[in-house]
């Protein structure tokens, strides 16, 4: 899958969760800097990424899913490992 497509869909997930526009979600801004992003939201994000890309994500990888860019890389790695 094209990394840009992955990135676009990840931004869509974040936009949906936090009621912001996709185009306002930045590639490298840590999610933790978003209002209302906390450990429970992080787990929800993980679940939505799993569903979106049909992958299983070990919760240990959450620490690598702190931005759009780093999450894109996690998804790419999981899709390549399939």
């Amino acid at each position: 899958m094209d990394p840009n497509e992955i990135k676009k869909r990840i931004k869509g997930i974040i936009a949906g969760m936090f009621d912001v526009k996709s185009e306002d979600v930045q590639d490298t801004k840590p999610f933790i800097q978003m209002a209302k992003y906390d450990s429970m939201r992080a787990l929800e994000f993980l679940a939505k990424v799993e569903t979106e890309f049909n992958v299983m994500i070990d919760p240990d990888l959450l620490q690598k899913m702190g931005t759009v860019d780093s999450t894109t890389q996690v998804v790419l790695d999981l899709l390549h490992a399939k």
Binding site: S39, M40, L43, E44, A47, P59
Partner: protein, 149 residues
């Protein structure tokens, strides 16, 4: 479901803070600590919500199906974590919830919830509701802890 050498019929009222008319678990059928639980909710025409939902056409409200799933999950969490002073188990999100057929008086809703991921005190718990073996609803929750004053 494998036995975990613990009593399978947990006393619902000891594990839930909800009370009538919002108690949506009648009985725990079985459970496995930290993993899964099966509960039962018998839907009867006498249930108070049928007075308004809907007059002459009783349909179990979908939000109460969600509540039934959530209460089953809450029992499972509470049975693992025990009572924690000032902390409440709360729903963070309800995801991909699907209602596959209406629930009607006379249905016995069996709910199966399974913890699929846990990070600290946060959990993803996935569930399925069945009536006589037919799947009637499915959904996924995040649960966490909230300190309330």
């Amino acid at each position: 479901m494998p036995s975990n050498d613990l009593p399978q019929d947990l006393p619902v009222l000891e594990f839930l803070k909800q009370r009538s008319p919002i108690l949506m678990v009648d009985k725990v059928l079985s459970w496995e600590k930290g993993k899964r639980i099966r509960t039962l909710k018998a839907i009867t025409v006498n249930d108070i919500h049928f007075k308004g939902h809907f007059p002459g056409f009783p349909v179990f409200p979908g939000v109460l199906t969600i509540e039934s799933f959530a209460q089953a999950a809450a029992i499972l969490i509470r049975a693992e974590d025990g009572e924690q002073e000032g902390l409440f188990d709360v729903i963070g999100s309800v995801m991909e919830f699907r209602f596959l057929r209406p629930l009607l008086p006379g249905d016995r809703l069996e709910v199966q919830m399974e913890i699929t991921k846990a990070v600290g005190t946060n959990r993803i718990i996935e569930g399925r509701g069945t009536v006589e073996g037919e799947t009637v609803a499915t959904g996924k929750f995040t649960f966490g802890k909230l300190r309330l004053p």
